[in-house]
Structure formats: C-alpha cells, structure tokens
C-alpha cells in the first residue's frame, strides 16, 4: 500500500507545533527540568504509529510526546502533565519522562533501554489476549548498548513476540558520539539476536512508513520481531537547554566561566602528555562542532521533505487546521496559569 501523505504530514506538523509550544513553555519556566523533544524524528514516529490501531501497544522512552500526540492523546491533558498540573494526563505525578495512557497501552520510561522489555511484555499480553495486536518499542541508537534492550530483542525472537523495535538513530548519546562507544553494526547485532533488520532514512516518512508496514505485518502474523533502524537529526540536541547548544548559540556568555578552568586544566603540570591533552581538546571542539551542525535540520527535516510532496492547497489546509488545534489546546491548558493562581 501507499501511505496517506497528507495524513502523515498532518501528524508530523501537529507534533512539531506542539513541541514548539512546549519549548516556549519550558523557556518560560512552566515545565521543570529535562524536557526531551522529538523534533527532527517525527518522520520515524509518524511512519510507524500510522500503522497502529486499538489494542496495539507502545513502549516509549524519554521522548514520549510525539507518539502520544500522533495517537491522538488529548493535547490539553498532555501539556498539563508537562506542567505538573493535578488535572494533567497522569495527575502531574509522572511528568515528561513518565507519560502513561492505559487506553492506548502506552507506557514510558526514563531508564535508557527499558522500552525493550516493556514492549515484550505488552506483546506477550497481546499474544495471549489480543491476537494480531502488536507492540512498538521506541528507543535511541545508544540504548542498543543497554543489556536489557538486547536481551529483549532476543526474548522477542525466541518467543515470536509481535514487536517492532524502532531505533531512532541520531548518532548521539547526550554528548557522546555513539560510533565511538558502539562496536559492530546495529542491524547485524539485531540479526544476531534473531530479529529481522531493516534500515531507512528517518527523514523520509514515506520510506519509514513502508518499512514499518512490512514489520508490523510480520508481527501481526506472528512471524516475530523486526528491528527498524532509522536515522535522524535533532536540532534541539539532547534536551531543551542542551549544554553544547547553549555554547554554540551563545559562546561568549556560556564559555566565560568555563574557559579559564579548562585552560588551566589543559596546561597545568602533571597529567597526560601534550599530545593526549591536545587530543582531548580536539575532541571537545569536535563535540561542539558536531552540535553546531545538528542545529540545522536542512534536508534532514522530515516535515519539510514531506511538505514538498504535497500541493500548496493540501499543505495550507493542513497547516491552518493543525496550527489552530495546537494553539487552542495550549490556550486551554494555560488559561488558569494566565489568570494567575
């Protein structure tokens, strides 16, 4: 089958606009601590969740908003949860890393790799109680070094569990380039764990959709798990307020307090050889450079890529509707706040 390009675009846009609003609320201090976004990886999420329906489950990681937005969770409840309100999605108890929606069989975790076992458990329940229904695990490429995730791919293979393991590969674990700490190849690894593996460009929502279609179908038929590897780029870095991006955006202020100690450290007596110190400094510069490059989505933007495939009319219709929907939700959710306590 062919995907409904307008619907996919609309989903991605809704998530993008929603997270832009979240960004503003976070900057204003209405959302506390670590807020991890899906901006840049909407192509992966949309291409996968478009295949889901009632009874299908989702095991989410620390970036749970987009999948929930695209599955139609009430935006007002969601934003209120992020703001810790008592009438939020989880009564303000869970917050950004712990979003739970029983009706969607959607559960989150801030523990890297935990979505693997979680998807297996949902899939096991589906195998018993809702045959034909499946479970998705969303996680980053660095989570593939977490034992429990690898264990769970094997478990899914051994038990033919209906799971699609979706690896959103932005190449980074916070500030660590994953290539540096990851041996071999993730698809080979997943195959060695008994899953079928497939790689796609995550910025191409259509490609993701088609790869996911096959993976979901295999799972529904009881043919076992698929490892769906999709690349992406995230312009906000690891989370809102990513320390590297802060430096990239505002080097003078941000580096003020850091450069002195760093130079003293790098030049002080004792310690590694000059060569090794230079290598360290080089790798710090590298890290900043890489962060800077990630800022611009450019051709890695799944939203723009998909927009180009639509007609002007299609696009402007969706834009208006989605923007209206998100704006209304944000208004409704922040009403009380605006009014003051």
């Amino acid at each position: 089958m062919e995907p409904d390009g307008v619907a996919l675009y609309s989903q991605m846009l809704k998530s993008r606009r929603f997270e832009e609003a979240v960004t503003a609320l976070w900057r204003e201090g209405h959302i506390s601590a670590e807020m991890h976004l899906n901006i840049g990886e909407e192509g992966i999420i949309a291409g996968v969740v478009d295949h889901l329906s009632e009874g299908d489950a989702m095991a989410l990681d620390h970036r749970g908003t987009a999948p929930l937005v695209m599955r139609g969770v009430d935006l007002v409840l969601l934003i209120k949860e992020l703001m810790g309100e008592e009438d939020g999605l989880c009564a303000g108890m869970g917050g950004h890393m712990h979003l739970f929606v029983p009706e969607l069989l959607a559960a989150s975790s801030g523990i890297v790799g935990a979505s693997g076992p979680a998807a297996c458990g949902f899939a096991l329940a589906n195998q018993h109680l809702r045959p034909g229904k499946i479970a998705i695990a969303f996680f980053g490429e660095a989570a593939m070094n977490q034992g429990m995730l690898m264990e769970s791919i094997n478990l899914a293979a051994a038990w033919s569990l209906p799971v699609v393991f979706v690896c959103k590969d932005n190449g980074m674990a916070i500030t660590t380039p994953s290539r540096k700490v990851t041996g071999g190849n993730l698809c080979t690894r997943a195959e060695g764990l008994g899953a079928q593996a497939v790689s796609v460009d995550g910025a191409d929502v259509g490609a993701v959709w088609r790869a996911a279609e096959k993976a979901v179908e295999r799972a529904r038929k009881g043919q076992g798990p698929t490892f769906l590897h999709a690349t992406c780029r995230r312009p906000e870095g690891h989370f809102l307020g990513d320390p590297l991006l802060r430096i990239v955006r505002n080097p003078v202020d941000e580096l003020k307090s850091k450069v002195g100690p760093l130079v003293r450290a790098a030049t002080g007596s004792g310690g590694a050889s000059v060569g090794r110190r230079a290598a360290s400094l080089g790798s710090i510069m590298d890290m900043l450079g890489r962060a800077g490059k990630m800022r611009k989505l450019g051709r890695h933007d799944p939203l723009e890529r998909q927009a180009k495939r639509l007609s002007g009319a299609e696009r402007s219709g969706v834009d208006a509707a989605v923007e209206g929907e998100v704006a209304a939700a944000i208004r409704a959710a922040t009403e009380r706040m605006e009014a003051g306590p």
């Binding site: 029983p102 949902f122 429990m148």
Partner: protein, 342 residues
Amino acid sequence: MRTMTFADAIEDVLMEAMTADPRIIVFGEDVHAIRMNLYARFGEMRVRPTPISESAFLGAGVTAAMGGLRPIVEIMMVDFIAVAVDALVNHAAKIEAFSGGKWKVPMVVRVACGGGYGDGGQHEQALWGLLAQVPGMKVVVPSNPADAGGLMLSAIEDDGPVVFMEHKLLADYWLDYLADGGRMNLDYDIPEEGAFGPVPDVWQPTPIGEAKIVREGGDLTMAAVGVGLHRCLEAAARLTEQGIEASVVDLRTVSPLDTDTLCESVSKTRGLLVADEDYKSFGLSGELAATLMEAGIPARFARVCVEETIPYDRRREGQVLPNVQRIVEVARQLVDPGSLVA
C-alpha cells in the same frame, strides 16, 4: 484439614488459580522442569521457559501485567534479581504513582531465597529488606505450608506487584535440587513444621500485611519471617526451660509491615528480639525498631541477623545465619542483662 509440603501447597494453589483464570501465566528460567506439573497441565504458552535474561523478562512481566495478564515471573534465586532490580525499583513499584493511579501492575515475582546448605554468599541471601525499601512493592515471606498457599493466593489476587519469597530450607524440591542432588548423607536444619503441615481444605487468601502471633509469652517478643520464625520458636522452647517465656510473631509480610500486631505484643513484653536472615543493617530489623520508637513503646531490643557475607563453609555459615543458640543467648541477655556475666 489436609496436610501438605510447603512446595505442594503453592503448587496446589497455582493449579486451582490457573485453572480458574487463564490470564495467569508463569515464566522464568527452566520452569518447564521446575514447574513440571504446571507445564504438563497448562502447556508451554502459560508455563514458559525463558532465556537467562532476567532484566528483559522481569521487565516484560511489568507490562504484561499492565496489558491484562496476571504474570507470575520466576527469578530462580533472589540473589540473581540484582541483575534486574531496575524492573522492580524503577518500574513495577512506581507505575501506579506515575500514572496518577490509573494503571496498576498485578505481577507476582516468585523467588527462592535463604541459606543453610552450603552454597556460598552469592546464592543464599535473603534480600527482602532491599526489595521492600521502595514504596509500591509488597514482599511476603511465608513460614509454613498454609501461609505459603494463602499468601500465594493473595499475591495473585493483589492488583500491585508482590514479591513472593520461598525459603530453600522450606521448599523441599529446592533443597533436593541445589543441595542434595540425590545424596542422602547431608543434614540440614530444616524446620519440620515449616516444610510440612496442615493447610485448609479450601484455600483462603492469607491477608498481605497481617502478622500472626504464634506463641504467647510475657518476657519478650521475638519477631521473624520464614525460617527465622522457626528458629525463634525453637529458641522459645529452650528458653522456657530456663524460665523465660517468649512471644513469637510471624510477620509473614515484610512490606507492608503489620505494625499493630508487633506493637501490641511488645507493649506487653517490653522486649523485642528480631531474628532476621537478611542483613542486619538498613533493613527489616531496623524498621521494626523504628516502628516501636515511633509508637513510643519503650523496649529492650536486640537483633540476631546476618552481619557479613555468608560463608561457604557450612560450619561458619551456620554461625553467620541466625541460629537457635545465638537467639537463646541474646534473648537471655535481653531479659536479664546481668546474665551477660554468667
């Protein structure tokens, strides 16, 4: 009244419960062999051997429960749970709270625990204190067949996560499997009334969080779970000969603790001895002390617990685990501090 072994009592309850409720499934390493009768009755889909992947399958138990099943996840020995504690500490115990009370985790974690057969410090731990620490976990440790069955029934019926711990000295098949291996020339200090005894004709849930006073005496209270309970009873019998009458409380549930029963008993005896096969510090025994102090019940207090890594050598093992002689000595000192010199 029927009589049964500790192990058979649990199996009997599981046979009944699994027949009645198809949502109950069992999984864990080697369960096709360890639960062979359940395996034969309910088939591999419901009694399923796992890879040696405790993190994955314990974690899967959490969401399987959230997805509508009533899983009983087996971790062979509680020591091995250390590789998978995240599933309990950060997930099972917290999801009801995280979800704002909307989602519950009706999972039973079944584990063998305890020492006394020379398997070394990595295979004989109790660890119930560690598991009980995190709000949201229930932990039960039965000391006899009736409670083993009754608490398993409660654990299955409970809508939250419950760790069900069976002591290897009480469950004959574990000892046969891990310790004897068919040998007849070894002795274990098996509490007879714990390993075999009466069970109700019709199973009733033993309420989680209810302790039981199993012996009344006015001079001090002893509290314990599992095998420790029997060590206390034996110590109490010996103390009687020395003119000391002890109450003995079977806590049965580590978390939530039945503080009322404990306080009531200690209010009368003004003395508490905790015999705990778990580590002494930062665990159950300390919590019982805090319970008394919070209730403002002044009491003499002493603990007979495990204070170091359990030795492999069975002689030293027997000294490190709470034994009857240590309990008797500490009890005597507690009742009559002067006896210290005697």
